[in-house]
Amino acid sequence: MADPASLNTLAALDPVHGRTGAVGDMAGPRGRRPRRALSRGNIMLYGILLLVSVYYLLPLWVMVMTSLKGMPEIRVGNIFAPPMEVTFQPWVKAWAEACTGLNCDGLSRGFWNSVRITVPSVVVSIAVASVSGYALARWRFKGSEAFFAILLIGAFIPYQVMLYPIVILLRELGLYGSLSGLVLVHTIFGMPINVLLFRNYFAAMPEELFKAARVDGAGFWRIFFQIMMPMSLPIFVVSMIIQITGIWNDFLFGVVFTVPENYPMTVQLNNIVASVQGVKEYNVNMAATLLTGLVPLIVYFASGKLFVRGIAAGAVKG
């Protein structure tokens, strides 16, 4: 496309039209629409955005700065100042040396526990939820609506109410305290929201596509894997983000359903930060907190675009 500005210049140079100015008037305004960068609206808008950003980023700033300082410098008390002497010792200590209870191998143990909890929970819950959502959307069976309603009610019952019954249930199953027990709990608690998500997504996909596949002789699984799944990447990403961050950040289930050597990272972080013995090592605490928050942070940064696309998908046809 030609640059409108240069076209404008050419028109101005044209002797006949330049003199009469007729063409310019007839064709209406040309060139770039004038925009004032410093309009009152813009100042207002960016001012508020800046203020809100500072408000939200300040704690992060304090955390990062504190985690890079030595204890003597922290005792000086100026929490906003950048470190005079940068040290990574608090990070190393938080990861590999901090003590919780009898173990002194830092957060690394909790990190690997959390990985061992999150990965299978996410995989299993999404696998079950996507197939359930697909069945509820496309293979209505007798009582499927009632089943779905019951599932949704599950989303509204406070977790605290269910804690003790689940403890008993896990004990009877012989899974209490084990990682697989916690994986089972996370999978079940992920069901309502994820089934809802998948069901609505699949229900919004054109029904005739599903019918065409049935006429073509495809069954339940073939339609799911070959027709539905390739068309629903966004919703799988959304569900994955919800599950990864939710399960990684979980504290309650981790502390209730596991034993100390299986504690997830969040529980271990709490135990490090809330320890009442000895000197409070603020720099180590900050480093440990940042380490724990790193996984959800990376997930959000890496998939932010897909996340928005997935949430918006289905809102507009086509």
């Binding site: 054109p206 005739e208 019918k211 065409a212 049935r214 006429v215 002789g217």
Partner: protein, 362 residues
């Protein structure tokens, strides 16, 4: 029970959703190689019936036979049917070739046979050059052709079309209509075609089934449906502009409405003798004789022109007969203006007489 030249037989088919009856004890016999159109306004159950034949909906009661085989409880793919949908329903992530081969692969057909069938279908539908494209890179007409190809490669007994042209623009619709008709002439498969467009129905069908509220009101050739509608609904539904109706009384061979009286000599009654009764006389706007043709018509009259709608090929004239608006279709070259008195002629043989209460043909 099994008559060999029947391709599809539907026996007492009933479908209810809760308290709503969508299809009511419906019976229909479709001949081998016939092009049957299911025609009706939306909500009449025509698409539902097609979905039942396809096996995509389970009927509440009744049975369906295809080629003498009871298919009522068979899967769609086991019925020997292929279906073409309004929205094309092509698998977006597959190429045209992938779309065509999906059903064949599901049936575990050898690759060589699959290739041969795709080549044949592509030749018939003239889409050899499109085989490696994705549906997104095709135009609406091309997409619908691929959808037809998907039924074609499976070598089915019966083609089912669910409003296949409704998503296309007018010009393309006319082109593809001709193509479907040609396809039927070449293939000789049984085709069942659902539409709400009476032009599609009249031009394509060997027989038309007009449906309303889950029932077939009339099953007949386009000629029968047009010339001898079984009831007032069918008469009103078919034809554009629609039929004129005069309310009145039938007495010993004469129809009277107000001070108008029309002798029904030449009208073929459905029953040899009928009692006098309130009746409705239906006259198609194009069956009203005007100009030089008036003299040849058995019944003559004169009307005052209210309104003129020129449409190029012909002109629609609005007048009043027996106090009600009356449409007359005249030649496009006719020069008439509001206020003109014009002579008209009627032929009772071309009219339709309905019982005022039952609205059935007399």
């Amino acid at each position: 029970m099994l008559v060999p030249n029947h391709s599809v037989r539907i026996r007492d088919l009933t479908l209810t959703f809760g308290a709503v009856t969508v299809l009511e004890a419906l019976n229909l016999d479709i001949h081998e190689g016939e092009f049957l159109v299911l025609l009706g306004s939306s909500g009449c159950g025509k698409s539902t019936l097609l979905n039942c034949i396809a096996g995509l909906l389970e009927p509440t009661d009744g049975q369906i036979f295809i080629k003498g085989r009871n298919v009522t409880w068979l899967e769609p793919s086991e019925r020997g049917i292929g279906m073409v949908f309004q929205s094309y329903a092509l698998y977006p992530q597959m190429t045209v070739r992938g779309n065509l081969s999906f059903g064949l692969k599901n049936a575990r057909m050898p690759q060589a046979e699959i290739d041969a069938r795709i080549a044949k279908a592509a030749r018939i539908l003239q889409m050899e050059s499109l085989l490696d494209r994705k549906p997104a890179a095709l135009s609406g007409g091309q997409r619908q052709r691929v959808a037809i190809g998907r039924a074609l490669v499976r070598d089915v007994d019966v083609f089912l079309f669910d409003e296949p042209l409704s998503n296309l623009d007018a010009k393309l619709r006319a082109d593809l209509r001709v193509e479907i008709k040609r396809l039927h002439q070449n293939l000789d498969n049984t085709m069942i075609y659902v539409t709400h467009d009476q032009v599609e129905a009249m031009t394509l069908a060997d027989r038309i089934a007009i449906m309303r509220a889950g029932k077939v009101l009339q099953l007949g050739t386009p000629d029968e449906i047009y010339n001898r509608p079984q009831n007032k609904y069918v008469a009103d539904f078919i034809g554009s502009p629609s039929m004129n109706f005069l309310d009145g009384h039938y007495e010993r061979g004469t129809f009277r409405s107000g001070d108008l009286s029309i002798s029904m000599d030449g009208y073929k009654l459905a029953m040899p003798q009928i009692a006098d009764r309130p009746a409705i006389l239906g006259i198609r706007p194009e069956h009203v004789a005007t100009g030089a043709l008036v003299a040849a018509a058995p019944i003559h009259g004169e009307v005052v022109v209210d309104l003129v709608e020129p449409m190029g090929s012909d002109t629609l004239v609005w007048a009043q007969v027996a106090g009600k608006p009356f449409r007359i279709r005249m030649d496009g070259q006719a020069r008439v203006a509001p206020g003109d008195r014009i002579p008209i002629g009627l032929d009772p043989a071309k009219a339709s007489l309905f019982d005022a209460k039952t609205e059935e043909r007399l």
